[in-house]
């Protein structure tokens, strides 16, 4: 059985207009997607901006009200708040946010930030809790003197690692990582990704790894789903997606990965333009 089964998930945002504020239309942010995440794997969710990736991630972690469809965890549909509460769902499913600065409360010290899920789910003694926070900081490669500082005193990469520490605090089974490194520069990206990989090995965590960057996803994920306008256009293993893309949208995303080999730059450019042309033709139909 899969860790989590997402079935025909739909999230529509109502558009209200007019004097009576009536619902006249809706934004189909997520429009019927189905996929499973296995225990211990990293599942990649890729798509361009506005394709509904974050909305999918937020629905899985229980932050978004789902319009229809189901998300099964331990055989229960966790789109219902009651079931989430019964299962202590967020103890097992956590999230890492894209913007590390806004995801850490600027008025709270690092100790309180990382201990927040512990206080709600584990009820440790004061000393045990502090010890756990120190261990978590150590695991993500931060010193103990971070304990009583505030988020703005850290760099973007450090802050994102604090976010990772908070997400793993309760030893969850699944972490939704919503573009965890896209706000960081390249050298720091690798560092944070390596910490995430290390933690995955040590704790056996699954990731739902959301990104718009197929280059990053290639390093992290075994299974990948390509999302476009609220739907999944292609699902496959890493090999399928990178070497035998079927859908034109996937080909286009792949063509957008910059080519580092100077000699092949012209060829790469030509193929990208060719793909773009086919894509535009299909779009206009």
């Amino acid at each position: 059985m899969s860790l989590i089964e997402i079935k025909d998930l739909k999230v529509h945002y109502p558009i209200r207009t007019g004097f009576w504020n009536r619902i006249t239309d809706s934004v189909r942010a997520v429009d019927g997607i189905t996929f499973n995440i296995e225990a211990g794997e990293t599942y990649g969710l890729v798509g361009e901006s506005g394709s509904g990736k974050s909305t999918t991630g937020k629905s899985v972690v229980g932050l978004e009200k789902v319009t229809s469809g189901s998300i099964l965890y331990k055989g229960q549909d966790i789109t219902k708040a009651d079931n989430r509460r019964k299962l202590d769902y967020n103890r097992d499913v956590q999230m890492i946010f894209q913007d590390s600065l806004s995801s850490l409360n600027p008025r709270k010290r690092i100790e309180d930030i990382i201990a927040e899920p512990l206080r709600n789910f584990e009820h440790l003694s004061k000393d045990d809790e502090k010890l756990r926070v120190l261990q978590l900081l150590d695991i993500v490669g931060l010193d103990a003197d971070a304990l009583y500082k505030y988020p703005h005193q850290f760099s973007g990469g450090q802050r994102q690692r604090i976010g990772v520490a908070r997400a793993v605090a309760t030893n969850p089974k699944l972490i939704i990582a919503d573009e965890p490194v896209s706000a960081l520069d390249l050298s720091v990206q690798a560092q944070v990704l390596n910490f995430m990989k290390k933690i995955q090995r040590e704790f056996g965590i699954s990731y739902l790894f959301i990104s718009h960057d197929l280059g990053v996803v290639r390093h992290m994920c075994n299974n990948i789903a390509i999302m476009n306008r609220g739907r999944l256009v292609e699902i496959g293993t890493r090999d399928d997606i990178y070497n035998h893309p079927l859908h034109i949208y996937t080909k286009r995303l792949l063509a957008a990965i910059p080519e580092t080999n100077v000699n092949q730059r012209e060829a790469h450019r030509a193929s990208r333009l060719a793909v773009e042309k086919v894509y535009q033709e299909q779009q206009s139909k």
Binding site: L63, S102, P106, Q135
Partner: protein, 316 residues
């Protein structure tokens, strides 16, 4: 499960005391400390703070030693007694009543009402705004319609009507009557900031961390709008001194046997008093001006400190 963490980190219980001590040494100062150092750096603000606190304590304690009914008895012998005499420091009014004593008791009444009004209306306004902004949707819609309705009522007229209808009222009932009409501005202000704040990811992170709505509202969001709250409270305090004063001046505040800054200033209604007997109204007017200036000055420093602690970079 704990073993799981032991296994992957070198840190064990033995290191706890040492490490937390090290961290303590590196700790960033708390907000209270930052506010205090901000005051120490700004001498005029410090002076303003001492004036306010000293004056409030003085009138609160001083009023305890004054027998109000006796003070308010008419004493024809002292009719418009000159100021700066041993018996009447600030002279006496047309009833021969000591202006100095009236000023102390009157300030106690007026400031007491202003403090009470600020506490009640700001607390209510802050809660209303926070809840309305955080929950959004139908709750917000309903709460905003109540707000609209309250804004529609002509405030001063309603207070005057209520004061006329209610047969026996004193400072406490008056404070409550005022409070009904003075929370709206605060609530709108707080709501708009809460709406923006609720969108931020740290609120989402708290929700996935299993924190309850109420805790998120008051422990996560509220500290982040504290600078707004502080400034709003100090400004409304300064404004609220004016509320009671203004109505008493018009004759609809406290009953005339109860001295207040407003009833004293209304002495200036009489042209004779304005020119000849200036001591009957000038002290009260000066007091209000100085108090309001000092309060808004302190408010500015508090805001600076609160902003600094929001950045925290400017610590000490």
């Amino acid at each position: 499960m704990a073993e799981n963490f032991e296994q992957h980190s070198d840190i064990s219980a033995a290191d706890l005391a040492r490490l937390s001590q090290e961290a303590q040494a590196e700790a960033t100062p708390s907000t209270a400390k930052i506010i205090w150092s901000e005051f120490k750096a700004d001498r005029p603000a410090m002076a303003a703070l001492f004036i306010i606190v000293g004056f409030i304590v003085f009138v609160m304690v001083g009023a305890l030693f004054i027998d109000t009914p006796k003070m308010m008895e008419t004493n024809i012998m002292a009719y418009f007694n000159q100021p700066f005499t041993p018996e009447f420091w600030l002279g006496a009014d047309s009833g021969g009543r000591s202006v100095a004593k009236q000023l102390i008791v009157g300030s106690r009444n007026s400031i007491g009402i202003a403090i009470g009004l600020t506490i009640i209306s700001s607390t209510f306004g802050i809660c209303w705004g926070l809840i309305s902004g955080y929950f959004n949707g139908y709750i917000d819609w309903g709460m905003q319609r109540v707000y609209d309705f309250m804004m529609m009522l002509p405030m001063t007229m309603m207070i005057i009507v209520l004061v006329t209808i209610i047969p026996h009222y004193n400072s406490v009932t008056l404070t409550f009557i005022f409070s009904i009409f003075y929370w709206e501005g605060t609530s709108r202000l707080i709501r708009s900031r809460t709406l923006a704040e609720s969108e931020k990811d740290y609120v989402a992170a708290s929700r996935t961390s299993g924190t309850s709505h109420w805790k998120i509202i008051f422990r996560e969001i509220m500290p982040n709008i504290s600078s707004l709250i502080i400034v709003d409270c100090t400004l409304s305090f300064a404004e609220n001194i004016g509320v009671e004063t203004g109505l008493s001046y018009l004759g609809f505040g406290l009953p005339s046997q109860t001295p207040s800054l407003g009833t004293m200033i209304s002495n200036a209604n009489d042209p004779n008093n304005i020119t000849q007997y200036w001591w009957t109204w000038l002290p009260a007017a000066l007091e209000i001006i100085i108090l309001c200036l000092a309060i808004s000055y302190v408010g500015q420093v508090l805001r600076r400190a609160a902003d600094a602690s929001q950045r925290q970079g400017a610590a000490d």
